[in-house]
């Protein structure tokens, strides 16, 4: 009955830490992220890929990872569907951009401002979650998206309305951040920070409480979890990550317009975490990478065949959209737990037989 191994291997100290194999995986991931530009450069040098294009895509992926990690804390962990992501990104982006252009705030400070304000706005629009759940909450977040976007598009005095806010290229110490390579390092480290902190959050009491609220509100309350407070906390924390993503978008692209934050964006992010794996931090990374890289890939494909069949290229956007939709449908039907689950399966199938689950 009493398995001998356990008391030893699960001594509290190591049990709450992680096993060496995991550290190895983390190391590999870090190495890969660090080496990515070099790999890309080599491939580009060999004329295999368009280096500039894919470097841009990498930067976009990095930003998307931050946003997806944030959304997954809200929707995946605490179980509250949000279709307001685009709006929250907008708050972050405009805050950072306007703080810099109007008040001459240094850009890192503007990012902190963006994080705080977005977090506050997110919490406000999270208030309905105290009384609503599931579908009704989802619809409420759709409304928040519509309202924020309306403000952004029409509050000419503050946001330049439907026009655009142009952000000057920022300096990092002595380096002028005006090229994708420089930005890649900034964005990659920010993304890494987001992933690590979110992972930590999920293995402490706060993460557990969120999942408890998601799985079984009644029982959560019965063990002393203040359900409402944790729902709002989820909105606040999630929006903080989203705010960072938005601020990075503003600083990286140097141009902020409402079009980057439409309902489609909210949908895209929801798709990322569902395809990546709800409630899984690593899933957010896979999902973001997949959903950003896929259309880019299709676009490259389209251009490579442009000369042969010009007809296709005109239809390319429609094709991208269709693939987007199909991917969502197929995943929900065949791999509802997302790429994170897929990876687990691979791990299992590669594990030597005696220990196979």
């Amino acid at each position: 009955m009493l398995a001998p191994g356990h008391r030893v291997s699960d001594r509290p100290e190591t049990a709450v830490g992680r096993r060496p194999l995991v550290y190895l995986r983390m190391g590999l991931a870090v190495a890969l992220v660090a080496a990515a530009p070099l790999i890309l450069h080599t491939l580009g040098f060999l004329g295999l890929v368009r280096e500039a294009f894919w470097l841009t895509v990498l930067c976009q992926i990095g930003i998307a990872v931050i946003g997806a990690v944030g959304l997954n804390l809200l929707t995946g962990a605490s179980g509250q569907i949000s279709l307001g992501q685009g709006g929250f990104l907008a708050v972050g982006a405009y805050t950072s951009a306007l703080l810099v252009t109007r008040f001459g705030v240094p850009w890192p400070v503007s990012m902190v401002g963006a994080i705080l304000l977005t977090s506050a706005v997110g919490t406000f629009f999270g208030l309905p979650s105290l009384r609503l759940s599931g579908l009704y909450l989802a619809i409420a977040t759709v409304a928040s998206q519509a309202i924020i976007l309306y403000l952004v598009k029409n509050w000419d005095a503050v946001t330049h309305g439907v026009g655009s806010v142009v952000v000057p290229r920022p300096w990092l110490l002595a380096i002028r951040l005006d090229n994708d390579l420089a930005w890649y390092w900034v964005i990659a480290s920010a993304a890494a920070l987001a992933v690590v902190t979110a992972t930590n959050l999920m293995r402490t009491g706060i993460g557990r409480a969120w999942i408890a609220v998601r799985d079984q509100e009644v029982a959560a309350a019965a063990v002393g979890v203040r359900v409402g407070a944790y729902k709002l906390l989820a909105f606040a924390v999630s929006s903080a990550y989203v705010g960072l993503a938005g601020a990075l978008t503003a600083q990286y692209t140097g141009i902020v317009t409402w079009e980057r934050f439409t309902f489609d964006v909210s949908v895209l992010y929801l798709a990322m975490i569902i395809i990546g794996g709800l409630g899984s931090v690593s899933g957010s990374v896979y999902g973001a990478t997949f959903m950003i890289a896929l259309p880019a890939w299709i676009q490259q494909l389209g251009q490579s065949v442009e000369d042969t069949f010009p007809v296709i290229t005109a239809k390319l956007p429609a094709v991208q959209l269709g693939v987007f939709g199909l991917v969502i449908v197929v995943f929900l039907i065949f791999e509802p737990r997302g790429l994170a689950r897929t990876r687990q399966r691979i791990n299992v199938s590669f594990r030597p037989w005696p220990f196979r689950a």
């Binding site: 579908l135 009704y136 409304a143 519509a146 309306y150 000419d156 929900l332 039907i333």
Partner: protein
């Protein structure tokens, strides 16, 4: 004064169309428990189908409309049978997301088939205006006949659906399924068939809505954006209430009509010219905060 009356009538007309589109949404939700984010796309597809069949030379317009409706119904059934059947008993996120995925597929399909350039709705309903004089009003009220058509057709469709639900066998079956699927099965009702039927009906009602909107604005991808307006309507009316859609539709219609008519200029640098886009959603949030399950919806009680 005449402007007020004018806008009121316009609002009612828009409300009728909205109610019609929302009806399809509610039917799906009642019967299958799916929140359909693709309702706007169904409307768009419907409009394109009508345009396509009306465009066929030598095809009588009645026949064309019937064929279009059939095509839409088939699409609806296909969605249920090919896709949603797989998601029975999944969480809200999955269900919402799959309808979003479907929406993307429908948009893409339309773009691939009909391209991205908008087109004219062939053989529109006559574009004359109806004038009302007198009524103690300073100057005449002019009503776009398209709007009048919208009211008439939408009302007719709504009545038709109501009759269907109340009187027909299928309608009864749908109501039973909506109440309790177990009971329905015990009564020998095929739940799968009812689900498919719900989607078919939703697609058809969306088609009628699409026809009416396209007749005002022309046929284009943008018609799908109409879909988001469904949410304020159904929240006002309650996700489950079919009469609620009429109330919700009218309220939202009037709201945005008055807004676009009267709200001009700026407040604190916020230009109100486009406020009609957002007001329905503001109301939505307020209602959800005050009356979480809509004016006509009822909360579900969990017992331990």
């Amino acid at each position: 004064m005449s402007t007020l009356t004018q806008l009121t009538v316009l609002g009612l007309a828009n409300g009728a169309v909205l109610a019609l589109v929302a009806l399809g949404f509610v039917v799906i939700y009642k019967a299958t428990g799916v929140v359909n984010f693709a309702q706007g796309e169904l409307l768009m597809v419907g409009a394109y189908l009508v345009a396509a069949f009306l465009g066929v030379p030598g095809l009588h317009w009645v026949l064309a409309l019937v064929l279009a409706a059939l095509a839409a119904a088939t699409l609806g059934i296909a969605i249920q049978v090919l896709v949603l059947r797989w998601l029975v008993g999944r969480g809200a996120v999955s269900v919402i997301m799959i309808t979003i995925g479907l929406a993307a597929c429908l948009r893409s399909a339309v773009q691939l088939i009909w391209g991205t350039v908008g087109q004219d709705m062939p053989a529109n309903l006559p574009g004359t205006a109806v004038q009302f004089r007198g009524l103690g009003l300073p100057n005449a009220i002019v009503l776009p006949s398209t709007q009048l058509w919208a009211v008439v057709l939408a009302a007719a469709a709504l009545v038709a659906f109501a009759v269907f639900f109340q009187c027909s066998r299928q309608g009864l079956a749908m109501r039973v399924v909506a109440e309790d699927q177990q009971v329905a099965m015990l009564m020998g009702i095929s739940v799968r068939w009812v689900f498919a039927l719900a989607w078919a009906l939703a697609a058809v009602s969306a088609l009628v809505g699409g026809l009416l909107v396209a007749n005002i604005s022309g046929v284009s991808i943008d018609l799908a954006d109409f879909g988001l307006l469904v949410f304020p309507v159904v929240i006002l009316g309650g996700l489950e209430s079919i009469p609620g859609t009429v109330v919700g539709g009218v309220v939202v219609g009037l709201l945005s009509a008055y807004a676009s008519g009267y709200l001009q200029g700026q407040v604190l640098g916020l230009s109100l010219g486009a406020a009609h886009d957002v007001l329905p959603f503001v109301v939505l949030v307020l209602i959800l905060l005050v009356k979480p399950y809509g004016l006509f919806g009822q909360a579900q009680i969990k017992r331990m």
